[in-house]
Amino acid sequence: MSATETSPGRVIPDRLTGPAARVLRSWETLLVAVAVAIFTFNSFASPYFLDPWNLSDATFNFTEKAMIALAMALLVIAGEIDLSVGAIVALASTAMGYALQFGADTPLLVAIGLGVGLTCGAVNGLLVTRMGLPSIVVTIGTMSLFRGIAYIVLGDTAFNGYPESFAWFGQGYVAWVFSFELVLFAGLAALYAIVLHLTNFGRRLYAIGNNPTAAAFSGIRVERTRMALFLLTGLMSGIASICLTSRLGSTRPSIGTGMELEAITMVVLGGVAITGGSGSILGVVLAALIMGLVTFGLGLLNVPGIVMSIFVGGLLIAVIALPKLFLGGSRWRRSPSR
């Protein structure tokens, strides 16, 4: 506002960077480079990697979690978080198994899975929006509650014997090597990208994530939008539950344990700021792909699952720490709290 800004020695450029430079320096470009590097490395490390059917199998590593990650990305962009998704998967699966005992057929099972997901999302959403509670604590509580109900119903037993037609969701192929889960995920990803990047609803999420008070004053129905996001996350968890239950063919109360962590890892790895207000669906999809490639590649090299988690954990930290080291944190200057 004063002379200091235009004083000699300080040039203010007309525009910060050109569009090409912006694309090159973007998070998504970095993710593409990482994905290509891992893909190349894997294809040299194991002769079995480049087989189409092997690659197709590898997609099962991430499709279910990535479906949840899509909704979680919207939630995180709007400044909220849901730690109960893994528990919703377990509860939805338990409900489907319970209905199965009374002879429910496939359409009813699917309806129950989706319904339970939506109900759980509604519980989270109501607690957060109506009572004004922080989502992180609410969802830690509901995480215990939802999975607790699954344990009450199942104890140390399991539900088995899902009908043949139900198995298609997790085991069927639409065409050649493209599984139903992969096609469903691709379709949902496209839908989410359109909703987030091309609609008013999507723009509102960024506004809410950056400044909920300002968003409310500019006429956005903040609480209603948040509620919709929790419902959406519950619904996606229900869909993931149907796929996972169908793929495994049985329900134990421990089903989907740790899914919330992997979904959040995908979201953060995909460049969504955990503090809200920025991120893209493309980034999340790429992050899911990278995590799938890493776990599959390490699996081919006979690395046990728990050791892979070291890589995933390290990747999560490195990916957010490295830009701070090299870019001086210019893009990431945010309050360090949560």
């Binding site: 995480m143 607790g148 070291i310 999560l316």
Partner: protein, 338 residues
């Protein structure tokens, strides 16, 4: 005077615990025996210690999800050291466990401080890495009771003044926290950093440094608990205390420690942990399946956080009396609720 004491959350929580004990006592005589109450305290000792460590972290507006993994890792190292060198005095083993825990907490603290990374992401990452590291270290093997020396297993059980050392450790940590939180500048700095980051900077407090200390302290306590846990149950394996971090956070939330930082008391954290401990011990006595416990603690968390939110609603502070009157005159333009 009495009204203010009754209104305090610690009093309410203590009354709730007493009511719970009385309820179980009416149906199962002997539950409120001093001996049984001491056993419940002993059972809750680890949870109390970790809840206090977590409280320090949460007070600074951070969160540590890696405590249980840190506990399991240090416990495994302590067990392996003991198995390899049974002659090593227990003091040295304890020192190794605490030192290792301190280092692991410091890693979290450094990442949060120096890289300004969001604590939830950092500790999510280190949680999976520490868990994986246990597997690498042990090769997935268990360290069983017969591989541990008698002295290693005896310490937490040995009685001093009719109370096991495990209980005394918890009492010692409670006493240290009462002194530190209430009587040292460090303790007050925890509140300042969480209460208002910017004001803390102007008061000459290093925000990042204080958070670093909180994480390191929490790590040290997790290290101590690692030894206590493994020696008490006389077994060490990769999944020790899996998910225990949620119990710890639940104890804090139930104890009235605000997840938004800056609010909470030592008494609250201890009572929160005891509340969960009493429930855990009352369920089997009351003949309720242990599978109910998860759902019940979930409901306890939700009730506690809903209760917290009511008592936490901060009134905007107006320092000048005249400004207050000027503010009171026009219509309430800004305040959503008084």
């Amino acid at each position: 005077m009495i009204a203010t004491i009754l209104k305090r959350r610690e009093t309410m929580l203590a009354l709730a615990i007493l009511a719970l004990i009385a309820l179980v006592q009416t149906r199962f005589a002997g539950f409120a025996r001093p001996g049984n109450l001491a056993a419940i305290f002993n059972d809750s000792a680890v949870l109390i210690i970790l809840a206090l460590g977590q409280m320090a972290v949460i007070l600074t507006r951070c969160i540590d999800l890696s405590v249980a993994a840190t506990l399991a890792f240090t416990g495994m190292v302590a067990a392996l050291v003991n198995a390899a060198a049974p002659g090593l005095p227990i003091g040295a083993v304890l020192l190794i466990a605490v030192g290792l825990g301190t280092a692991m907490g410091a890693v979290n603290g450094l990442l949060v401080w120096r890289f300004a990374l969001p604590p939830i992401v950092v500790t999510l990452g280190t949680m999976t890495m520490y868990r994986g590291a246990i597997f690498l270290l042990s090769g997935g093997e268990w360290v069983n009771s017969h591989q541990m020396s008698e002295a290693f297993k005896a310490l937490p059980r040995s009685l001093v003044l009719d109370l096991p050392v495990l209980s005394w450790m918890a009492i010692l940590v409670i006493a240290l926290f009462v002194l530190m939180i209430g009587r040292t500048t460090l303790g007050r700095a925890f509140y300042a950093v969480g209460g208002n980051e910017h004001a803390a900077i102007y008061a000459g407090i290093s925000v990042g440094g204080t958070r670093f200390v909180a994480f390191t302290l929490n790590g040290a306590l997790a290290g101590l608990c690692g030894y206590l846990w493994v020696s008490r149950y006389a077994v060490a394996y990769t999944e020790v205390a899996q998910g225990f971090e949620l119990d710890v956070i639940a104890a804090c939330v139930i104890g009235g420690i605000s997840i938004a930082g800056g609010i909470g008391t030592v008494g609250g954290a201890v009572l929160g942990a005891l509340f969960l401990g009493v429930i855990k011990n009352a369920l089997p006595v009351a003949g309720v399946s242990p599978f109910w416990q998860m759902a019940i603690s979930g409901i306890a968390i939700l009730l506690a956080v809903a209760f917290n939110a009511r008592s936490e609603q901060r009134k905007g502070r107006i320092i000048l009396k005249s400004a207050e009157q000027a503010h009171a005159a026009p219509a309430p333009a800004t305040g959503a609720s008084a």
